[in-house]
Symmetry: C2
Subunit: 151 residues, 2 copies
DNA sequence: TCATATCTTATTAAAACAGTCGGGATTTGT
DNA sequence: ACAAATCCCGACTGTTTTAATAAGATATGA
């Protein structure tokens, strides 16, 4: 159904949460889960993958938590989605990595459609970084203030 | 995982098959299933939805089968996908029809990302018709002949 | 009337999804 | 040294979706 699972959605929200607290030292999983309304144990599983891929770093022990693995401007939404949901591939024969082609792939008209879909999704997800999201959030926030002011 | 199910994939192939036999009278489900290597019974379920939505018309009885509901140029891949897989919606809160929004939707930064993904998918799927596919197939076929000739 | 088709409903095995649970390892403040 | 906070890891579970399969009813041309 071309649906994203909760893995991708929760993951992006958690990463955005970390971006909003960048420079404040490690953020605990518990606080992210509370702010985002996500099960803590479940989020733990997801962030485990993000840590292994280097998108976040962990600090163990009391007062520990997670910090972004690199600057918000260098973390694309596509990076997060690929870690949590696997390579972008509306159908397996056009997967970004090791596509399982059938014999007719070379001359398959249907296949070219899925390639276009894949590329258009990847383009969108790779054009947005956590930095972009922070900027957008600031814009929305100031618009909101204006709106509240004039009411 | 942003995956299309077999419904969408088989459906597009079946519709393309019908487009290739346009003007030849009704095509039986059995022959489509055989050419496309799809379970006949399963395809039956899928085409039922296509018929109800008017994308195909059925002719019952012996020598019966299915024909396209309108010209290949007026059937977009997006039409087929929407019938078989439902409205395009990478997440429910940005569904093409009756999105289930949460309270924060108005100021949700994550949401705008999924809207962009939805629109880019819809743009691709609505820019391709069965007619386009027929043209592409002809091009591929002539390229193939050339290739075979020079070997 | 009979072979050929489409239609309709029900059932099912396997996989994916979305968690839940229990315990371990590591660091910090006291 | 010890308790609290926190990350780390593997196993388990209920629900939903997927991808069929099966069986029979209905319609029609020859």
């Amino acid at each position: 159904m071309l649906k994203l699972s909760t893995k991708g959605r929760y993951g992006v929200r958690a990463m955005f949460d970390l971006a909003q607290h960048v420079g404040e030292g490690p953020t605990s999983l518990k606080s992210i889960a509370e702010r985002q309304g996500i099960s803590e144990h479940y989020l733990e599983q997801l962030i485990s993958g993000l840590r292994k891929s280097g998108l976040v770093k962990s600090v163990r022990g009391a007062q520990g938590g997670y910090i972004l693995g690199r600057e918000p401007g260098k973390i694309k939404i596509g990076d997060i989605i690929r870690v949590l949901e696997g390579p972008i591939a509306p159908v397996d024969c056009v997967s970004e990595e090791d596509p399982e082609c059938c014999a007719k792939a070379e001359f398959c008209v249907t296949r070219t459609i899925w390639e276009k879909v894949r590329d258009s999704i990847a383009d969108v997800l790779d054009s947005i970084t956590l930095e972009t999201m922070l900027e957008d959030a600031n814009k929305l926030e100031s618009e909101r203030s204006l709106y509240m002011y004039y009411i």
